[in-house]
Symmetry: C2
């Protein structure tokens, strides 16, 4: 299906004038829309007004908009995009040769910016709308730190205050991520902290706690809603985030179109769904409109298998159960992946848009074990030069599997996967792998049942 | 002098077919050639045969070649270059706006590869020639770890064994760099070690030592020369390294030419000279041939001021005094920058080619203090998005100074500087700066005299 190899360079860059000027909103082409967020108190769909207490007005509009297919990217955001985008679509010639596969492998590499991942695509948009609304600043939580870094970069650019609540154990174990955020002027507070009511409560109840993402979310939401001129922002899961991340897929499609390449398989890693949702959006759009068919594969960790072993139901987005409920594939908001798990993508739930698409059979999902993920990461690093983030390596792992199937069958399939970021701040996990100390963990059915038993009972 | 702004994108990428296919050897255009390396035992110029005991044959040829202006880049190296090159030439629109300067600022960004710097340009060439000669592997030393990382990536690609001697204090304090090298399959040994004669001797004499670059060089050279099928490789200072790094300058010039831009000022940071020498080479060539004039500025740390306060004389390249002597600007092979110094570029000497050019007044040099360097680094990171390596930030600092002079005079000068790499593995230094704990250190005249007093006495 693809064009003549000889004409395709190692890296396809769009020219500046070829960059997308609109985001694509896949919900507009969905016959069955994703279910709305519910107010946890009333169990009624969240209104724009209710959401506006937590999020910027323009972002609330984007969150609720399931009818407009294209939304203009403001000029200020386009300018920022031009500093680190377009990202390259890379032909993995060396990997193909090493695998001796007839498959043609491409990856969209989002790691060439200081945040180290695709997260910056949405961070800059969210910061822009906060600035435009005249806000003083934004608050957020961060675990590993990629999202916090991206947001601190975006806020520094628009001269917005940025308050990041970083899970205490990460704050202490990942001081470098913390320092990148501080260099960009963000204040980084280890969570739980004494600076919020919910933090003080948790500290009183659990004096020695090293924190959790759920607790950090609760603190960030409180800090935003209790301070004049602040709003809360989130780096994944939400519809607005998938909208901003559509720039990944739009660039990918434009680069492929330039060379007449039509992919057979599109692969992305899936935690909350921001990268996967962005990468696949224009392809999924074609599929929804009946114009073309693609195999689309979500790859998740075997130790946190929302799609492959979770349930499609309404659940809380946060462990603290203070945020709205979302209908999604979930392992239960109380589910916490094994401490053994080093490979990222730790979220218990999934984007409601992707959940709906998966539920309708429009995409596949598979889970992979972390030693296989790091084996793929190492192989990829050695032959393609880029040291991938563990999250991204889930997609590499599945792409190699598909390429090896082509080797067996002799099929010349074209595979595109998302390489979401670099692993420079994940060397503790790589060290564990290098030392042969990494093992796999797959939750038992009983463990998953326990997590799902706590799901709220809601008619839907 | 430059083209209309409106036509110039944020990032100028060459197309694959526009990439340089030859390295440029600036020595060919020098009327006064750089002085030859001397054998430390005989004080006679090193012969090809003598050099061949330490370096690969083809690299010895390149080291001694001062007459061929262009040398073909082998196809295998070109293929590797295509994985991470061309690097972008970036127009710093946001920085210009922030500074409110009429100057036009461009930077050639070499940090978008996993080694995080330009070092990979020479590492892949040196690994290729080692492989071609049928060697089993190479040895080297590394301090901060950028060169060791680049070499381990290159060796992994060509399936060569890579033995890195890493200064013990860095080995312990920079475990992440070490793990990147191990992920690429390199063996990383803390130096001094029990694995070499010189290491055992040093350990016996100084049991608690945390090592030095000079000691690591001695161990790496011993490991290469005492093992069948191994050679030693070096990441800076040498003529061959400047030759490989000319790809930076050639790409820069091609990108500028594409838009009819002629720079007024070219700025690079200088430690051993690999980046600076590579960046300026084609421009210096025009200057040497009398075709065009440019201001060329080397920027070095005030705490290690080889150009600005050193002496142009023959000196040992290593602290251990086992390597050949080179005629260069030097602070004395015994000079060690203050422990206070966090900003990179710690080498006591300088490329002999650049030393000769500087001695003839063909380029300028200036030194900057480290707090000014980190201030520039932070300002640049916040407005241009990229967190620079402290080394690269020396060039940023000088570029901002020149741009501010243009603001005073109203001149629309075009400034090009080399952004050699990213600072992701330098967060300990950034943390010091963020905490307000960084201070400056300028060696006294007496301290520099002490270092220079140890220079070997050689007629030249």
């Amino acid at each position: 299906m693809s064009a003549d190899n000889m004409q395709i360079p190692y890296k396809i860059y769009l020219e500046e004038k070829e960059m997308p000027r609109q985001w694509y909103n896949v919900r507009a082409d969905m016959k069955n829309k994703p279910a709305p967020l519910l107010n946890p108190a009333t169990l009624q769909p969240m209104t724009a007004q209710e959401l506006g207490n937590v999020f910027c007005d323009e972002l609330v509009k984007q969150e609720l908009d399931d009818s407009n297919a294209y939304i203009d990217i403001p000029a200020e955001i386009l300018d920022f995009y031009k500093m680190y985008r377009p990202s390259p679509l890379v032909r993995a010639y060396c990997l193909e040769k090493k695998l001796q596969t007839p498959a043609k492998i491409y990856y969209k590499f989002e790691g060439n910016n200081t945040s180290g991942s695709h997260k910056l695509n949405s961070a800059i948009a969210q910061a822009y709308y906060a600035k435009k609304q005249g806000l003083k600043g934004v608050t957020t939580e961060t675990g590993a730190g990629q999202w916090g870094t991206a947001l601190s970069m975006a806020c520094s650019y628009f001269e917005l205050d940025c308050k990041v609540f970083m899970v205490k154990v990460s704050y202490e174990q990942k001081p470098f991520r913390r320092e990148v955020m501080r260099t960009y002027g963000a204040s980084v507070t280890p969570s739980p902290s004494e600076t919020t009511q919910v933090g003080r409560k948790i500290l009183a109840e659990h004096p020695g706690t090293t924190g959790s993402l759920g607790c950090a979310i609760s603190e960030a939401v409180e800090a935003a809603t209790c301070q004049e001129g602040y709003r809360y922002v989130l780096g994944s899961v939400l519809n607005q985030v998938l909208l901003h991340q559509s720039v990944i897929g739009l660039e990918t499609k434009a680069a492929l179109d330039k060379y007449g390449i039509v992919p057979d398989i599109i692969i992305g890693c899936a935690g909350g769904g921001s990268n996967l949702g962005g990468l696949i959006s224009p392809f999924m759009g074609e599929k929804l409109r009946g114009e073309r068919d693609y195999r689309i594969i979500a790859v998740e960790p075997a130790s946190c298998p929302s799609f492959t072993r979770g349930r499609y139901a309404y659940d809380f987005c946060d462990t603290g159960r203070v945020c709205p409920l979302s209908k999604m594939y979930t392992l239960g908001s109380g589910f916490i992946p094994s401490a053994n798990h080093a490979g990222g993508l730790r979220y218990h739930g999934m984007s409601s848009t992707l959940s709906q698409l998966y539920d309708e059979g429009l995409m596949e999902a598979r889970s992979v074990e972390q030693t296989a993920v790091f084996r793929a990461a190492e192989e990829f690093a050695r032959i393609e030069g880029i040291l991938p983030a563990p999250e991204s390596a889930h997609a590499i792992c599945a792409a190699i599997d598909e390429a090896m199937k082509c080797k067996e069958t002799g099929e010349e399939k074209t595979i595109v996967f998302g390489l979401t970021g670099t692993g420079y701040f994940d060397m503790v996990a790589y060290e564990k792998y290098n030392n042969g100390e990494m093992t796999d963990y797959i939750p038992t059915d009983a463990e998953l049942e326990a997590g799902l038993a706590g799901l709220p009972v809601i008619e839907n």
